[in-house]
């Protein structure tokens, strides 16, 4: 972890239709942390990363990636959407999906070539999915699909990774494989931001945490701020129930 700020969110407010989802969020994420965003359902966790990535338009506020607006920093940001957000029956192979990670650096019209394919194969290797490269994506298990998504982000070779619930509906082996890769990324000095559900694994997996429930409750090192006080503030009286889930 360095002293540089990787992601700076200022006064961010987002509303869906009539419902306010995020309110006046100020957030600074230092470079090189592995951070979990936690909060109850509907707390705006996904919304927060979608707004940072420009998928959603905020009503107010601004986002800076290493001091510049997102649009100028796309090349160094990678995104792993929720697994359920796409149709896995789409006619394409695992390798093809991973190659999509190179599209951003290719820009319009230019086609992926050997170089891109090689990068994709390396990423597949990293997530342990090389033997499945020619599989139709619907024939992969949930965990394997998640690893494909992770590989697609790895191919982008970014400095900051945003992941939306990468552990949801995956088997234990995949969970370990994914967290190992995330820790490797951190070791390489990358910043990783993960929307996370399972509170019990937070201290084990992450070194930084943000509590979110429409407002930002707290943000900082796990060892300092991951405590009952903040959990109760975030989850309210339902806190215990959420832990059991």
């Amino acid at each position: 972890m360095s002293d540089k700020i990787a992601v700076k969110v200022d006064d961010l407010t987002v509303a869906y239709n009539y419902k306010p989802v995020l309110w006046d969020i100020d957030l600074e994420i230092p470079e090189g942390v592995l951070m979990a965003i936690v909060g109850p359902n509907g707390a705006g966790k996904s919304t927060l990363i979608k707004s940072i990535l420009g998928i959603l338009k905020p009503i107010a506020g601004s986002v800076e990636i290493f001091g510049k607006p997102y649009a100028k920093q796309r090349q160094i940001v990678a995104y792993v959407p929720q697994k359920g957000s796409v149709d896995w029956d789409f006619p394409t192979t695992a390798l093809d999906v991973v190659i999509m990670g190179t599209y951003g650096s290719l820009g319009w019209i230019k086609r992926p070539r050997q170089k891109e394919k090689k990068a994709a194969l390396e990423a597949l290797e990293k997530v342990g999915m090389l033997p499945f490269k020619n599989r139709q994506i619907s024939q992969l298990s949930g965990g394997q699909q998640q690893r494909i998504f992770l590989a697609r982000a790895l191919v982008q070779n970014a400095s900051i990774y945003f992941m939306d619930e990468p552990f949801q509906g995956v088997d234990a082996t995949t969970e370990i494989a994914i967290i190992n890769i995330l820790k490797e990324l951190r070791k390489a000095g990358k910043t990783v931001i993960v929307v996370h559900h399972d509170l019990q694994t937070v201290p084990e997996y992450f070194d930084w945490v943000t509590f979110l429930n429409v407002k930002k409750i707290a943000t900082g090192p796990v060892k300092d701020i991951f405590n009952d006080d903040n959990l109760t503030k975030t989850y309210g009286i339902n806190y215990k129930v959420s832990i059991q889930e």
Binding site: G54, I55, R74, F90, P91, Y103, L106, K110, P112
Partner: protein, 375 residues
């Protein structure tokens, strides 16, 4: 008319050649773009657009008074696009759901189109004949100019498709992700939609408003069953579409009283049914066969592992046991025992059975796999 005579006619007879060529090109372009509609889960949009195009044709006629096909098509294009974007407006701005929006625009535009057409038909202007051919389509009215027009549009469409292939593909698969990569998703989206509308409008004269959606969906739905690659799917859909066009035209030309549109749709329908049933990887037939085979394998495995547990208790795995004790086991039948003997897993001596070396190993493997899975 027999088939050789027909083929000869295709090359000699101007009208037949034009129609065959026209329906083939049309089938190819709708099949190609239909793949995108199907994958975007906008299958019924085609139906709505084709109906929504009708008032455009009528208004273009009212304004220009001309029967020029291309001007009418322009009207259809504009009105189809208005319908499409209105559908989107209804879905995004009100709480009406997409099916309601589609049904609304489809029926309201169509009804308004009918009002205009019947109004035109009562006008003294005698020039109006031929507007109702857009309802059910009349391939017979295709002339060479129409075919050129179709070929031109198909060519442009193919060019754009190849140019933006990568962008189309990623947008279809994961729109949000595409946005984060910096692509202007709105532009790609409008491009695809415009071409789908264009293909539909082109087909109105040939297959008509009502059957247009099948031209768009059937080849794509059939093609999807044979491949897991987008490019192959689009290619196959184009082939299926063109083939449906040619065969449909041939059948309707060789019989009396058969309009081309419905026949083409039925031929495309046959493609769909055939693909649904006989596709090797997804088809219903092979799925059923695989299902039965799996169940049988499972039964064999269960019997084998039951035997394994009995044999395990003895030091000598080849120790014979009475067949009778197997009767307590549910999955056991004479047939399954026979199968195990055939596979050389089990030996039978009279009323006794014993595991072979091979059978023991296989069973032990099965057992290990299962315990691993449970962990």
């Amino acid at each position: 008319m027999d088939i050789t005579e027909y083929i000869k006619l295709v090359f000699t007879d101007y009208t037949l050649r034009t129609i065959t060529l026209g329906t083939a090109i049309l089938g190819a372009v709708t099949g190609m773009l239909g793949s995108f509609a199907v994958l975007r889960k906008q299958s019924l949009l085609g139906d709505a657009i084709s109906h929504a195009a009708l008032p455009g044709i009528a208004i273009a006629f009212l304004i220009t008074g001309a029967k020029d096909g291309n001007i009418l098509l322009l009207g259809a294009l504009v009105s189809g696009l208005i319908g499409t974007f209105w559908i989107r407006g209804i879905i995004s701005k009100t709480h009406l759901k997409s099916d309601t929006a589609l049904g609304l625009i489809l029926s309201l535009f169509f009804g308004f189109g009918m009002l205009l057409i019947t109004f035109i038909q009562k006008q003294p202007n005698a020039n109006q004949a031929g507007l109702d051919k857009y309802l059910f389509g009349q391939a017979a009215t295709l002339v060479e100019r129409d075919v050129w027009m179709m070929a031109l549009v198909t060519g442009i469409c193919l060019f754009v498709l190849l140019l933006f292939w990568k962008e189309f593909k990623i947008l279809l698969f994961d729109a949000d992700y595409t946005k984060t990569l910096g692509f202007n998703t709105k532009f790609i989206d409008i491009l695809i939609t415009t071409f789908i509308v264009l293909a539909i409008v082109l087909g109105l004269q040939t297959v008509g408003v009502v059957l247009m959606s099948a031209m768009l969906l059937a080849p794509a739905a059939a093609a999807r069953q044979w491949t897991n690659s987008l490019s192959v799917m689009v290619f196959l859909a184009a082939i299926f579409g063109a083939f449906s066009g040619v065969v449909g035209t041939a059948i309707s030309a060789s019989e009396n009283n058969l309009s081309t549109g419905p026949v083409i749709v039925l031929v495309a329908g046959v493609f769909v049914i055939f693909s649904f049933i006989f596709s090797p990887s997804r088809g219903l037939l092979f799925k059923q066969i695989r299902f039965i085979r799996n169940r049988r394998d499972l039964q064999l495995q269960k019997t084998l592992s039951f035997m394994f547990h009995i044999a395990e208790t003895h030091e000598n795995i080849g120790h014979p046991h009475a067949i009778k004790i197997l009767n307590n086991f549910q999955g056991f039948t004479k047939g399954s025992l026979q199968k195990l003997v055939q596979k050389n897993y089990v030996k039978i001596h009279g009323a006794m059975w014993s595991l072979t070396e091979e059978g023991f190993k296989t069973a032990a493997n099965l057992y290990n796999q299962q315990t691993q899975k449970n962990e």
